[in-house]
Symmetry: C2
Subunit: 150 residues, 2 copies
């Protein structure tokens, strides 16, 4: 079930956001709340052989987008998910060969409000945080505001 949802997300990204393919962005885990995605450093490197900020932001943005996609899938819903605003802090350079980004837990009240609004209005919105971290702490911190429309 979860594998099928992740596979659907991966197919959607490959088919409908084609730049994810040369970036090597892959959905790797979903526990019903937290989405994990990753990309390799090599195609996403910068002039310092750390990760290019544009690729890091794209990964973080897609993890937020994919989280909303999977939240909808989990309830048998669908909708058009769009990001409205994003903010990102690049705290330390990312040198990992496999760059892993995870969502931060969504507040239960915020999730309930998201679905209530979607059910009653046919559209909704939710703020999500995603991050890239290593053993020493957070490397990249992202906040995105997403909307869902029918």
């Amino acid at each position: 079930m979860l594998d099928a949802a992740l596979q659907k997300l991966q197919q959607t990204l490959a088919a409908e956001m084609p730049i994810c393919t040369p970036m090597g962005i892959r959905a790797t885990a979903w526990d019903g709340r937290i989405l994990q995605m990753e990309m390799p450093l090599a195609p996403n490197r910068n002039h310092q052989y750390s990760a290019f900020a544009g690729s890091l932001n794209a990964l973080c943005t897609v993890v937020g987008w994919g989280t909303v996609f999977l939240m909808l899938e989990g309830r048998g819903l669908s909708g058009n998910v769009v990001i409205r605003r994003g903010s990102i802090r690049y705290l330390r350079p990312v040198h990992d060969e496999r760059i892993i980004c995870r969502g931060r837990p969504v507040d239960a009240e915020a999730e309930q409000f998201f679905f209530e609004l979607l059910t009653s209005k046919g559209q909704s919105k939710i703020d999500l945080e995603t991050e890239i971290a290593d053993a020493a702490g957070v490397l990249v911190s992202f906040h995105g505001s997403y909307v869902v429309q029918d």
Copy 2:
């Protein structure tokens, strides 16, 4: 002279930020203050055949980065340019086949402070705004904080 600086920027992007190549990001104009870059929609499209937010952010980020690169080039300086923070608003979907992003004019006082700090301390920082617009107004508005280190 300006063409040479733009060409150097383009070569730097292609060689050192390789994901810019499949994105089709190109530096197209620089008047000594405002940098213009563009990318085609097709490889950067999303599920709605408008532009993928991650690609839009990458383009805006690179226009800010390239502006600092060219500001340094214009004074015969060099340094390691890094983005520390970015924030972006996706105001309307971008459907243009050629997506054009331009820097916003840098305040003269901020520019002077940037170079003074760089000369005295060997490192500096500057906040830059870039945007993607059409005839009806701004589509995407970006703000980035960049630092330069030796």
